[in-house]
């Protein structure tokens, strides 16, 4: 299939660009960042780590840039991301990242699915009851909801439910006094800690689904086949779901496939605000500690997740909607 091949080619190209950005950016900056760290942690970095830095940032090696570049590409291709410098000194970057991924997948993944289902449903209703209270109120409210910084909503929720009402925990993924294990008490505790960050994410992302579903649905409702269905005297809910919504949902579905890619890197600030031990929190820790190897690996992970989701959503669209195949 030529279409799939082309998309895969694009995928590889973008991956290469992301890798190259990782390699080039620190070298473009005024003053080599790696030199700055080595100076900052004089003697505090293991010789092994210094070696990693040399390879990754081109300090103190006699290799030319091109040779450095290829050894960097080779290392990445074989999943050698080096060791963490400062966040967990000496620990393998791959290990640290893998520990953080499940937390993010759980929190953001579940919330993304929930936001999609709820948002699409509300969007369908809003378009169906055109001119009703829901329809009139929703768009302006949700336009405003989408401009609120995620992290600030999180902060306000912390103030209301955490600090003032003392209803919900807002720090870390579980209570420090508990030992992680597969038992009801621990799982309940984890769920409790996820409520506030999940709710933050939900109210900030749901608006997009409502808005796009409503807007496409409105266009679909004007189609002749909907009028035909009405003329046949079909019950309202059947027209709404089987005729209008079914045809209007395609953009939302591809958007959903895309948004799954943003699950890994999409809640950086929410994780930061709630000190939730996921990928985003880790990224900001790496940034705060100048832990460049960890930072680069996380950026790569986030990019790859997005790219994969795009690839999947492209192929899915091509399968679901034959019209797009001709364009590709």
């Amino acid at each position: 299939m030529r279409f799939v091949l082309r998309r895969t080619g694009f995928f590889l190209l973008t991956l290469w660009v992301a890798l190259t950005l990782n390699f080039v950016l620190p070298r473009l900056m005024p003053g080599n960042p790696a030199l700055a760290i080595i100076g900052k942690f004089k003697g505090g970095i293991s010789p092994q780590a210094v070696k990693v830095l040399e390879a990754q940032f081109g300090v103190g090696t006699h290799q030319n840039v091109l040779a450095q570049y290829f050894s960097y590409l080779g290392n990445t291709a074989t999943f050698k991301f080096g060791v963490s410098l400062t966040t967990q000194p000496g620990a393998s970057v791959g290990r640290i990242v893998l520990d953080a991924v499940p937390w993010t997948l759980g929190l953001v993944g579940v919330t993304t699915v929930l936001a999609f289902i709820l948002g699409t449903g509300i969007g369908i209703l809003a378009a169906w009851r055109r001119g009703g209270a829901l329809d009139g109120l929703m768009p302006p409210i949700f336009v405003i909801m989408t401009v609120i910084p995620y992290f600030w909503i999180g902060l306000v929720l912390i103030l209301v439910f955490g600090v003032k009402l003392k209803l919900l925990p807002y720090f870390f993924t579980y209570n420090f006094s508990m030992t992680p294990g597969f038992n009801l008490a621990f799982i309940g505790n984890v769920a409790e800690h996820a409520i506030l960050p999940a709710f933050t994410l939900l109210i900030t992302t749901i608006g997009i689904w409502i808005l796009t579903m409503r807007n496409t649905m409105i266009t679909t409702l004007a189609e002749d086949y909907v009028r035909m269905a009405r003329a046949k005297g079909l019950p309202g809910h059947r027209i709404m779901l089987d005729y209008a919504a079914r045809n209007a949902i395609l953009p939302n579905l591809t958007g959903f496939a895309m948004s799954l890619g943003f699950v890994v890197g999409g809640a950086i600030l929410i994780e930061e605000v709630f000190n939730y031990q996921g990928v985003g929190y880790l990224l900001l820790q790496a940034v705060g500690n100048d832990d460049y190897p960890l930072m680069q690996a996380l950026f790569l992970l986030i990019t790859v997740a997005v790219l994969l989701a795009i690839l999947i959503s492209d192929v899915a669209t091509a399968i679901l909607d034959p019209r797009t195949r001709g364009a590709g």
């Binding site: 998309r7 694009f10 190209l13 973008t14 660009v17 992301a18 950005l21 990782n22 950016l25 620190p26 960042p33 055109r130 001119g131 302006p140 336009v143 405003i144 989408t146 401009v147 609120i148 910084p149 992290f151 902060l155 306000v156 103030l159 600090v163 997009i208 808005l211 796009t212 807007n215 496409t216 409105i218 266009t219 953009p251 591809t254 958007g255 895309m258 948004s259 943003f262 890197g265 950086i268 605000v273 990224l283 900001l284 940034v287 705060g288 930072m295 680069q296 950026f299 986030i302 990019t303 997005v306 790219l307 795009i310 959503s313 492209d314 899915a316 669209t317 797009t324 364009a327 590709g328």
Partner: protein, 341 residues
């Protein structure tokens, strides 16, 4: 993702990515996608005419009025902060952690700075970033998008691939990475970095618009007249894009406000610049909530929301004007009645 309303540009590849990504990157823009105000086919006058139409729209559409009012308010505050707040926002001269009073409307920080003065003076850098990025990103996008469409061939292919790649690389993580190498980005650097990474979505829209014009008579007429390419691009093609450019400016400005505030909040801005994002950074690091200073966090956040809402409402209003199907039903009915008379 207003795919349905978008006339597919000829030669658009991979419809899936383009629209889906647009969705993910620019939720508000997707409401404000090719606004396609009825542009007519004319050349130079279209720009002025659609600008005038926008002026009329601002006064007749409630969302546009509110959006404009918010923007004007913040611009005034940003221009004359000294008139409103007499305190030096940085000076740590007051008792620490005061509650709101007539002297200090919003209280003081745990460093002894006046919070109201910080909010007022913090408006200017935010506006500079919003307008700076809005303009810069839109201009870059315009040059690349129009050049790709006009030059065609290999140029088009190359520019297109660059645009597409930038479009799918996750922007905010990229900005975080760049910010961390930079160690404290001031206003100018912030503008440059955000603009340099966020032009791609607009470029794609403008390229599609320019492509759709390629075989229109007024362009052929200009070519037959023997006009130079630069003249054709500046005087014939770009004026037809006025509404798209305005929408792009608003979207880019909105995202600049959100991105820069977020970067400043996590400490990647210049901590010595008084700005809403840096206020939030200092407030969170000093546990403003736990120490009874909620206003230190709430007010700068509300300002970000209000400014962002100004941009978003304007954008949304222009979209409604361009696409009557989205208008609230009641006003549509009223318009029909008026027309009937």
């Amino acid at each position: 993702m207003a795919t349905v309303q978008t006339p597919p540009g000829p030669g658009e590849a991979g419809g899936g990515t383009e629209t889906a990504q647009a969705e993910a990157l620019a939720p508000v823009a997707s409401a404000g996608q090719p606004t396609g105000l009825p542009l007519g086919g004319g050349g130079g006058i279209t720009g002025a005419r659609s600008l005038r139409r926008m002026g009329r729209a601002i006064t007749s559409n409630r969302k546009a009025t509110v959006g404009t009012a918010l923007l004007v308010l913040f611009i005034l505050v940003g221009l004359f902060p000294g008139v409103i707040a007499h305190d030096n926002p940085q000076a740590e001269i007051y008792p620490r952690s005061l509650s709101p009073s007539t002297q200090h409307w919003l209280g003081t920080t745990s460093f002894g700075q006046d919070i109201f003065a910080q909010v007022v003076w913090g408006t200017r850098p935010v506006l500079l970033i919003a307008f700076g990025v809005g303009l810069l990103a839109t201009v870059v996008a315009m040059m690349i998008g129009v050049a790709a469409a006009y030059l065609g061939g290999g140029w088009d292919g190359t520019l297109n691939v660059i645009t597409d790649v930038l479009l799918v690389i996750p922007l905010f993580p990229l900005l975080i990475i760049i910010g961390s190498y930079l160690h404290g980005a001031g206003t100018a650097v912030m503008i440059a970095v955000i603009a340099a990474t966020s032009w791609s979505y607009t470029a794609r829209q403008l390229r599609a618009q320019a492509l759709s014009l390629r075989n229109r008579d007024f362009l052929n007429a200009a070519k037959v007249r023997g006009e130079r390419p630069l003249y054709i691009i500046c005087m014939e093609i770009i004026p037809t894009m006025t509404s798209l450019l305005v929408a792009a400016f608003l979207t880019n400005a909105l995202y600049a406000v959100l991105f820069s505030s977020s970067l400043q909040f996590i400490g990647l801005g210049d901590p010595n610049v008084t700005s809403w994002g840096t206020m939030l950074y200092w407030a969170e690091n000093n546990e403003a909530f736990q120490t009874g200073l909620p206003l230190w966090i709430i007010v700068p956040g509300l300002c970000i929301v209000a400014l962002g809402a100004g941009f978003a409402l304007l954008n949304y209003a222009f979209d409604e004007i361009g696409n009557p199907a989205l208008r609230p039903v009641r006003s549509m009915r009223r318009a029909r009645v008026q027309r009937a008379r």
